[in-house]
């Protein structure tokens, strides 16, 4: 049985929009919302901050990069939400975590000063603060095609053996500037260092997230195609700019 797009709806949860929202990552929310609405799919946006309850029925959960201070401020609250987030992740809820939130979805983040911030262990990885900031335009090769973005982090992330990276680095540093991996994915949970914001110039990946969320909720779906000529033009330009 297939449901008509016009009868569908999605609940998108934005985690810590105040504390973790640097480098335009809020654009990911807008990309998901608009690309759903342009197809007649209703979208309910829920902003979830410190002390707020995770709403029932979340279909997509997103989180952005933040400053070190932001990570410190949210860590206790995140631990409080951790059991629920872990349950939602294993239940197949689609999640996209960028940079700082990506790090905290791993097991731990050890800052440059040696302080250990506990992660929630959804992704099989650990991060340590490095001395060198990894900054610049990026290109990754992923299962969802070529992904362009911009990275800006000093955290060095190492995936567990056998863990699935989000992609391979074509240009840039990715997880650690050494092993060529970038990001991580487990089931429907994606973590990446890519700002840009990552979904706006990589519409095929934005649609992949929407498709997975709708599939989980409604069974087999086919997304109507959109005119992505502007998105793809911006993508093409990004591949040609200096690091």
């Amino acid at each position: 049985m297939t449901t008509k797009e016009t009868a569908m709806e999605l609940t998108i949860v934005h985690l810590y929009p105040k504390e973790m929202n640097i480098y335009g990552d809020t654009g990911n929310r807008l990309a998901l919302q608009k690309r759903a609405e342009w197809r007649g799919i209703a979208v309910d946006i829920q902003l979830v901050g410190i002390g707020d309850r995770l709403p029932d029925g979340a279909d997509i959960i997103i989180g952005g990069g933040g400053q070190d201070a932001g990570q410190g401020i949210i860590q206790d609250d995140l631990q409080h939400k951790a059991p629920q987030l872990r349950a939602l992740a294993s239940d197949g809820v689609v999640m996209l975590m960028i940079c700082g939130m990506y790090q905290l979805f791993g097991r731990s983040f050890t800052t440059h000063q040696g302080e250990i911030i506990k992660g929630i262990g959804v992704l099989p990885l650990e991060t340590t603060g490095g001395e060198v900031r990894m900054i610049g335009n990026t290109i990754y090769d992923t299962l969802y095609g070529e992904i362009v973005g911009y990275e800006n982090h000093s955290g060095v992330t190492v995936l567990d053996t056998g863990a699935q990276p989000f992609g391979r680095v074509v240009r840039g540093d990715g997880n650690n500037g050494g092993d060529g991996t970038e990001g991580c994915s487990v089931q429907n949970v994606f973590g990446t260092y890519s700002h840009g914001p990552v979904l706006v110039k990589n519409p095929q990946f934005a649609d992949e997230l929407l498709r997975r969320a709708l599939q989980r909720k409604y069974g087999t779906v086919r997304l109507a195609s959109l005119d992505d000529s502007i998105e793809l033009a911006a993508h093409a330009v990004a591949t040609m700019r200096p690091r």
Partner: protein, 430 residues
């Protein structure tokens, strides 16, 4: 050693001018390597000392207004007019303006500096006064994070020997601490004007637009239109004619007036009034230029979400028939264009068309698409974009405005004004 340095520096200037170059950083670069004590020694002559203006947005305009206000009171002011932020740029200015006998015929120097350069400068020259305007997200691909920026400004404030001028509305700025014997002169806008001015945190947490006032300000901005401004200065209400556009420039004026109160407490009101009436915007900061085909274009520099958001409010004060946005991602602009997604463009959605230009024209058009704008024209190459914009303005026969990043502004300005641009292309060094 100073005499030799000046001679070498001036000689390089002459050589450069022979080849048709004006205002280059090269003499400063050479002397910086040759004689590290040059700058502090020369600047020590100034009876009123050195003032540094820093912060994320408004440095150039505030420095320009401050210079005019101090000059109105008869002071001879040395300044880096082109906004050349590097220490070597300032050394070049000093070499150019010093006499051959190393005398510096000025009373006071006022230099604008971005956070990182200001710290380097203050290591060499202790500023008598420091003005900090605001801390917003800007160029984070260079400085890392906004808290790093704040720490750099703290180092600068700590270096001030006599006084600092701080924005009492900006929480990050108002937490900066000057040394014990240093006097703080605050400036602020009134509570009624709060909706016009969002600080960085307010920009990102729409629900917390509480009015912040760290201390009683020396100068308070209470109102502005496109032709005047109302201030309360040391408790007295004042009203001045002045023609710079936008609330951000009114607040820059407020900062400059506070600086004037710190440097010349008993200033002459009549001379001040006359100067304020004649103020012109700094280049590319609300500057109105005449296009080759005769139309007029307001150039408004945009560098970060806070500044762009503030600049878009200019559209509420005036109707423009053509709107252009030119976004470059060269080093001085910041390589990362993610910040465009932190600006709300939904008030442009009713525009019939928007001309997007610059290396990241497609990114800009894409950004506008997601705020429901339609009919974006995209031309990445600046020379072609300049032609299209000129033709569109000529056809529309109304006022036009262009929001542009730094290098896009410099290039378009040079293309439109040619020799009249008054700036050397080599100055692009922020």
């Amino acid at each position: 050693m100073q005499l030799i340095s000046i001679a070498i520096g001036k000689f390089i200037f002459r050589l450069l001018r022979l080849f048709g170059r004006t205002g280059s950083a090269l003499p400063g670069l050479v002397i910086e390597k040759l004689n590290p004590h040059f700058l502090p020694t020369l600047l020590r002559q100034l009876p009123y000392g050195v003032i540094v203006v820093s912060g994320t947005n408004g440095k150039t305009t505030t420095t320009k207004i401050s210079t005019a206000l101090l000059e109105s009171q008869g002071l001879r002011v040395l300044t880096n007019r082109t906004g050349s932020n590097f220490v070597r740029g300032i050394i070049s200015v000093v070499i150019d303006k010093a006499r051959w006998n190393s005398e510096l015929p000025y009373d006071i120097a006022i230099f604008e500096q971005d956070e990182a350069h200001a710290v380097r400068f203050a290591h060499q020259v202790k500023p008598r006064g420091v003005v900090i305007l605001n801390v917003m997200r800007d160029q984070m691909d260079r400085f890392g994070e906004i808290d790093t920026t704040r720490q750099m400004l703290q180092q600068l404030v700590s270096a001030a020997t006599d006084w600092v001028t701080l924005n009492a509305n900006d929480e990050r700025v108002s937490h900066l601490q000057a040394a014990p014997n240093v006097k703080t002169y605050w400036y602020a806008h009134s509570k009624e004007l709060q909706p016009d001015f969002l600080t960085d945190d307010q920009l990102y947490h729409a629900e917390s637009v509480a009015y912040h006032l760290a201390a009683q300000p020396t100068v308070l901005l209470t109102g502005y239109t496109d032709c005047d401004v109302s201030l309360t200065i040391r408790g007295k209400k004042r009203h001045y004619e002045y023609a710079l556009q936008g609330g951000h420039n009114a607040l820059n004026l407020t900062a400059a007036m506070t600086l004037l109160c710190a440097v010349v407490p008993k200033y002459n009101e009549t001379k001040l009034k006359a100067t304020l009436r004649e103020l012109q915007p700094a280049f590319g900061r609300g500057e109105i230029i005449t296009l080759p085909s005769g139309g007029s274009l307001t150039l408004q520099l945009v560098k970060n979400p806070g500044g762009f958001t503030q600049a878009l409010r200019m559209l509420e004060l005036k109707t423009y028939s053509v709107i252009g946005i030119a976004i470059n991602d060269d080093y001085p602009d910041g390589r990362d264009v993610s910040w465009l997604w932190d600006v709300d463009f939904s008030n442009l959605s009713s525009q019939p068309s928007i001309l997007c230009g610059g290396t990241r024209a497609a990114d800009m058009a894409n950004r506008l698409k997601y705020d429901d704008c339609k009919n974006m024209a995209v031309e990445g190459a600046i020379p072609e974009y300049a032609t299209i914009l000129d033709a569109t303005v000529a056809q529309a026969k109304g006022e036009a405005i262009l929001f542009c990043t730094y290098t896009a502004m410099r290039k378009l300005r040079a293309l439109y004004l040619g020799n009249r641009s008054g700036l050397d292309e080599e100055d692009v060094d922020i």
